[in-house]
């Protein structure tokens, strides 16, 4: 299957480590499939612990210089990357829809959201201030610095193939850290397309790498990430089950851990709710991305007085939703 892109260079099927586009050491690859048609879109490298270790070591070397740049200089690169994503939104969205299935319009919205993190955190980097504290003893000054934690890793899920990686990479890079990312095996292409743009805007080699692998490779890649003492922090978004496993693995080297796991969102409709607001919200909270988000309304609790009117409006809403391929302009889910 070939995608129609204005800039076909954005479509990469190799991983990106230490500023180079590379295959797996073994040369093996795995298939990325279009969920709407079952067709193969690409073959992407099957990597393991060795490639991951090299990416981590490159991240360590690169971070020395990256953190020494002025916050303003890092911010400029991140701002340029945000702008590049927006300028190429259509193509990035096409790649995203092909590998993930969401409607193209939704994919474009995700690209804008993903880009916003680079813009935002570039700006925030310029505002990281430390403090001075009045000392309670003579001839002394107390100063508190805020410093980047070091080499970090990110593991991201398939539901937002662009925004999840950028949501982690942006604060890491802004703070002066480096990062090795492993996107979900179902959706590696979006992260790789962002790396094309990162390279173009001059992000130094090694500061951000993307390692790829399939479901079987994931524990090996993850295992290297959580056990390597060079890595000081893991950021993971995904299932609660895997989150607990990774957190446990990180305990051995006391790594800092950020986790964004499952939800069971209650959606409470009280008697005095405005039903128009409720129905509009339902469309977003339940049916956006076909309900495949961690913040999707999972339990709808409706007060007695408004229950029947609500159900009537919900049936109307649900019956009218257009289910189709993500490339069908009429598709809502």
């Amino acid at each position: 299957m070939t995608l129609t892109l204005s800039d076909p260079d954005l479509f990469r099927t190799q991983a990106y480590i230490d500023g180079k586009w590379v295959d797996a050491d073994s040369g093996e690859t795995f298939a990325v499939i279009d969920p709407a048609t079952g067709e193969e879109i690409a073959q992407v490298p099957r990597m393991g612990a060795a490639e991951t270790r090299r990416a981590i070591e490159a991240a360590e070397r690169a971070q020395v210089g990256w953190r020494k740049l002025l916050a303003k200089e890092r911010a400029k690169i991140l701002r340029d990357l945000a702008d590049a994503m927006l300028a190429n939104a259509d193509d990035l969205a096409t790649i995203l829809t092909a590998e993930q299935g969401k409607p193209h319009a939704e994919a474009k919205a995700e690209i804008a959201y993903a880009a916003s993190f680079f813009e935002w955190f570039g700006e925030e980097a310029k505002r990281v201030s430390g403090e001075t504290i009045p000392a309670p003893m003579p001839d002394r000054r107390i100063v508190v610095l805020r410093e980047p934690i070091g080499v970090t890793v990110g593991i991201t899920p398939w539901n937002f193939p662009s925004a999840m990686p950028t949501r982690k990479a942006a604060p890491a890079l802004a703070a002066g850290c480096s990062m090795v990312l492993k996107p979900a095996e179902q959706t590696p292409l979006s992260a790789l397309s962002v790396m094309v743009l990162a390279e173009r805007v001059g992000l130094p080699a090694g500061v951000l790498s993307v390692v790829t692998g399939d479901a079987e490779d994931a524990p090996k890649i993850g295992g290297e990430m959580t056990s390597n003492p060079i890595v000081r922090k893991l950021s993971f978004t995904g299932s609660t089950e895997v989150g607990k496993l990774l957190m446990g693995q990180c305990a051995k080297t006391i790594k800092k851990v950020s986790l964004e796991l499952g939800g069971n969102a209650p959606f409470l409709v009280f008697d005095d709710a405005d039903l128009d607001d409720v129905i509009a919200a339902m469309m977003v909270a339940k049916f956006r991305n076909s309900g495949q988000t961690c913040i999707s309304a999972n339990r709808v609790l409706v007060q007695d007085g408004i229950h029947d009117a609500f159900v009537e409006r919900m049936v109307e809403l649900a019956s009218g939703i257009t289910v189709a391929s993500g490339f069908d302009p009429a598709a809502q889910i």
């Binding site: 100063v143 703070a175 986790l259 069971n264 969102a265 409470l268 339902m282 609790l301």
Partner: protein, 146 residues
């Protein structure tokens, strides 16, 4: 999803719309509405991760908040009301990292995104989002005489 829907029907749920795989293909599920839900249903305790809405009926506000909190998760909650006191009571009572009030849309890079309890650790986005990537270093600087 099919398992969740099946379980709901077995437990007395009423499928008003959808309930199965859409004619578009195997990987497409129909938007589905099921009424009569309670906390015994499988889908009340696990993420459905699909376009299926199970409707629970309640009468008492405090009981509804307790039901909403009866889960190890605490990521996002949504509430709809026009009464400001009720909005405060519910927002303070709900054990969640993010509360959506009269909207279904909360994702923005300027606000701290994340959950409590088993929904996670840390926040992404906002000025606080950098905290997770920074460490404090304390300099105890002595000998500054005069």
């Amino acid at each position: 999803m099919l398992a969740h829907v099946g379980d709901a029907v077995e437990r007395g749920g009423d499928v008003l719309v959808g309930g199965g795989i859409h004619e578009q293909g195997r990987t497409f599920f129909s938007p589905t509405i099921i009424t009569g839900a309670d906390m015994d249903w499988q889908m009340s305790n696990e993420e459905t991760f699909g376009p299926v809405a199970a409707i629970h009926r309640f009468s008492d506000e405090a009981a509804a908040i307790r039901t909403a909190n009866a889960t190890p998760f605490g990521l996002a909650a949504y509430l709809f009301s026009q009464d400001h006191a009720r909005i405060w009571r519910a927002s303070e009572g709900l054990e969640y990292g993010m509360i959506a009030i009269n909207t279904g849309f909360i994702s923005t890079e300027v606000a701290p995104f994340g959950g409590i309890k088993e929904s996670g650790i840390g926040r992404e986005g906002s000025q606080h989002g950098l905290d997770d990537f920074l460490e404090y270093k304390y300099l105890a600087w002595a000998g500054v005489r005069g």
